[in-house]
Amino acid sequence: MAAEAKLDPMHQFQLEKLAGADWNIAGYNVAFTNSALWMAIATLALIVFVAGGMKRAVVPGRWQMAVETFTGFIDGMLAANVGKAGKKYVPYIFSLFMFILFANFLGLMPLGVVGVHAFTFTSHFSATGVLAVMSFGIVLIVGFARHGLHFFSLFVPHGTPVGMIPIIFVVELISFLVRPFSLGLRLFVAMMAGHVLLEVLSSFVISGGNNGPIMFVIAGVPSFVLMVGICALELLVAGIQAYVFALLTCVYLNDAENLH
């Protein structure tokens, strides 16, 4: 069973209850899983990272510089996409971006070498969906709080002919309502696909090795070389997906703040 599971590329996404199998809140089970453990590790790592940049020195050290680069990056992204009103979203977008970034990177850490299996909770849509719904909820709240029912004018772009308004409204409404799904699914799919690919390639390396030296040279070595490249690509994807998630949230917040 164990040997079989090793070659199953989906096994890495298996959720396991680590503690509190019978913890319930209002009848819903909230067992502490391996996914929750890695959420906790990501949170802790992020706290340690940002706390390291809190020396508040006038001349920053390397660590402080790194943290300030990230806050400046988020600040710039909000300023570019939302404008002056975007300043107040920096804490949320920063948390979102860094949380996803740390989750993605931690999931790629080669901890299997020391026997610990990293779990990428962003490869579960039940986790990314929560983040997406949260971003979408903030957009809705901000939009209706700032503009009231006028927020619906978002679905009728400027210059739409009167006769087209009902159709355009429906099209725009659908594209708007699809946003949380696209937001959550994009991250989940990208992370899962990358991890499956790495797992499949690594199974080629192992199977090739098990089938003798010739197969190892024909299949194992090229797979390994490819895997090294894909690993680098996955690191890039980890950053890009966190960036895309944060950027799209900024773009949606811009709609809510400024309409069109």
């Binding site: 959720l15 089970n29 909230v30 959420m39 508040r56």
Partner: protein, 164 residues
Amino acid sequence: MPQIAQLGEFYSSQIFWLLVFFGITFFVVGRGMVPKVMDTVASRDKQIADDLKAAESARAQADQEEASWRARENANRAEAQGLIADARAKAAAATAQRLAVAQAGIDATIAGAETRIADARRAAADEIETVAAEVTRDIVSRIAGLSLDDAAVRGAVKENLVHG
């Protein structure tokens, strides 16, 4: 696909723990730490801007002081040049005056000397005339045995000396 196969069993756990840990992240990091980090950046930017502004105004003041110093220096230089020119003119005038005085003295001396020379020459000529007249009368009396009048001899001698 565990994401779907285990959804029914774990969705509440996933949602709960994600909200818990993202909540911790948001309130501890996002709300607690990020504003402080950004404050640091903002205060540093402000300090740099202030320092630059102070340096700029100091530079402007230095430029202004240099300009005024230059103006003062130029005025001083012009004044000094004036003083030098003045002194030079005064000295030249004094030199000319003293030269004129000396020249006048020399001229007077020369004139006196020339007068004396002329007097001496006249006196010498008179003496020569007298001597010549006496010698002539002597010669005439000795050779011709004539006793000539003194005045006639003198007139003849004078005529000969003058028209010689």
